[in-house]
């Protein structure tokens, strides 16, 4: 990938992110922030590659924490977003019984 192609990707992705979010209703702001938080959990693949190419004990230690943190970002982001969006499932019709409490 040449630098200029990378720049094109960067520009197009930036516009995409802006457009995707620009029409979002306020009620979805928190779930969407959580969802985008999950999406940057893709850092996991980079962390895996970094650890996979680490050699010295220092590199391996840092790489280990990198993968650990990235996995936390991805899985945690997914779980909380899913839990939040779960609540929007059947809210068209008023529900009578509140959940567990």
């Amino acid at each position: 990938m040449t630098g200029i192609v990378a720049l094109y990707i960067f520009m197009l992705a930036a516009f995409t992110g802006y457009e995707v979010i620009s029409r979002v209703p306020v009620i979805l702001h928190t779930p969407l922030m959580s969802g985008s938080n999950f999406v940057h959990g893709i850092v996991l693949v980079g962390a895996m590659v970094a650890l996979g190419n680490a050699h010295s004990p220092l590199e391996k230690t840092i790489g280990f924490f990198g993968v650990l943190l990235a996995a936390g970002n991805a899985v945690g982001g997914y779980v909380v977003t899913e839990r939040m969006l779960e609540m929007f499932k059947s809210s068209k019709a008023p529900r009578s019984a509140p959940g567990e409490r």
């Binding site: 928190t30 850092v43 680490a54 280990f64 970002n73 945690g76 997914y78």
Partner: protein
């Protein structure tokens, strides 16, 4: 040192999979921006993540698989456990925490690549340095945001010359970065310096910011982590990271602007003014006295009202009162009272925080109005029921130019015939500003935990038969 194998020439399966991942992410985010399809959105994005993660095991030239597997399982298990356990009211700080982890991961990638001597030449090293700097700031900054919202840090820590210290730390981190680019593959001392200064910068930037501004700060760090991931993606020639990171970077920036706009403050103001604590509370004195009322009287007032507008705030979240409040409102609706919920964009600790809680309790969308929709309706409301909200209903924001919140759009709760304020105690709100609403002639204070007060109100209305 063996160079990183150039992934662009590696298996086309990996490239194709990353392409699919990018498509799934963008589709997922798109679906998440509409209430009807939101739930499926996260599943699309999740599928993308799964594809990318699995295919990365087939990346050429990798070793340390046991370490990768162990870190993956450990991190995933901890996050799964904590994410399933956390209460809905604590979502904002969990998002801050997971976001900080992402920033830390980006910084770790930069550290490993740079300690290893890098392979991308000056451009690659520069990108790794910038990503590492941003990632480390996001890591320590998000950790502070988490600690503040979780109540681990109670006060904002301020000292004279704070902004100068931040600027010096930024300059020091940048200097280390420049030295690293100029001397690639050196002893690694510049990398260490870069990361330490960046981590300190995150602390120095976030410690002085008050809790009221945390939604904006978390959103900003979310965007920053996205950018850091994109930069590390450039350094690693990883298209999935570039696209996902950039999309989050721009979407997060927009979201941050929307939030800052709702508070009528610029981002610079949020970061550098130190608003949000009692110590800077300004504005004129408020005259008048607080008038209290009993729950039984409020019950009667609500039961015989034509129209009630509920204004929920952080106090409702803290008391976990959303179920009780909805139960109360259903009773009122059964009696023929028109009930609406008015949500201020920055009520609670995150934009949409109140919507999430009300959705959890089962409140239908059509009863919920945002600022513009509902502000005209307060004039015709018999009762505005303010539950643990404070600054977002403070009329001082309209009138008092010396107030720190002057100009912030507020909900016009003061225009209702009667205003009932349910509040834990007599203290000021998160911003520390006296609320003129509480002293109005048509306002009555109902002190107590929102959940207990809710129960008392339900009992009072049921007693009416």
């Amino acid at each position: 040192m063996p160079a990183t194998p150039a992934p662009w020439s590696a298996g086309s399966l990996i490239q194709a999979s990353y392409f699919v991942t990018a498509v799934l992410f963008i589709t997922g985010l798109k679906r998440m921006s509409s209430p009807v399809s939101a739930r499926s959105g996260i599943i699309w994005a999740g599928a993308g993540m799964l594809v990318a993660t699995l295919v990365t095991f087939a990346y050429p030239g990798m070793s340390n698989y046991p370490l990768i597997g162990a870190a993956l399982v450990l991190g995933a298990a901890l996050a799964w456990w904590s994410g399933k356990r956390v209460a809905m009211t604590n979502m904002p700080q969990m998002i801050a925490l997971y976001n900080g982890m992402g920033g830390g991961a980006a910084a770790s990638i930069a550290a490993v690549e740079l300690y290893r001597g890098g392979s991308g030449g000056a451009v690659g090293t520069t990108l790794a340095v910038v990503g590492g700097l941003i990632g480390a700031v996001s890591f320590s900054g998000s950790a502070i945001a988490f600690a503040k919202l979780q109540g681990l840090i109670k006060r904002s820590i301020r000292f004279p010359g704070q902004q100068i210290v931040s600027l010096l730390l930024l300059a020091a981190a940048l200097l280390q970065g420049v030295l690293e680019v100029a001397h690639p593959g050196g002893s690694g001392v510049y990398v260490t310096g870069l990361l330490i200064f960046a981590l300190l910068l995150g602390l120095a930037m976030t410690l002085p910011i008050g809790g009221a501004d945390m939604p904006v700060v978390i959103s900003l760090y979310n965007a920053l982590t996205g950018l850091a991931v994109a930069f590390e993606g450039f350094a690693l020639h990883n298209a999935a990271m570039i696209i996902a990171g950039t999309v989050v970077g721009s979407a997060g920036t927009l979201l941050t602007q929307l939030m800052a706009k709702a508070m009528n403050r610029s981002l610079g103001n949020v970061l550098f003014s130190g608003f949000g604590e009692g110590s800077v509370a300004g504005g004129g004195e408020v005259s008048g006295s607080l008038k209290t009322i009993e729950a039984s009287d409020v019950g009667v007032m609500l039961a015989f009202a034509q129209k009630v507008i509920v204004v929920p705030g952080y106090g409702m979240a803290v008391a976990q009162a959303q179920h009780k409040i909805w139960e109360l409102c259903q009773l009122l609706i059964d009696r023929g009272v028109t009930v609406r919920f008015a949500i201020h964009p920055v009520a609670g600790r995150m934009p949409g925080h109140m919507n999430v809680l009300l959705a959890e309790a089962g409140v239908p969308y059509d009863l919920i109005g945002d600022l513009e929709e509902i502000n005209g309706e307060f004039d015709t409301a018999d009762v505005a029921l303010v539950i643990g909200a404070n600054d977002v209903v403070n009329p001082v924001a309209r009138t008092d130019k010396s107030s720190p919140i002057y100009g912030m759009p507020i909900l016009n709760a003061d225009r209702a015939q009667n205003v009932i304020v349910i509040k834990r105690g007599q203290g000021a709100g998160f911003s520390g500003i006296e609320n003129a609403l509480f002293y109005l002639d048509n306002t009555r204070m109902l002190y107590g935990d929102a959940q207990k007060v809710g129960s008392a109100l339900i009992a009072a209305i049921k007693a009416l038969g």
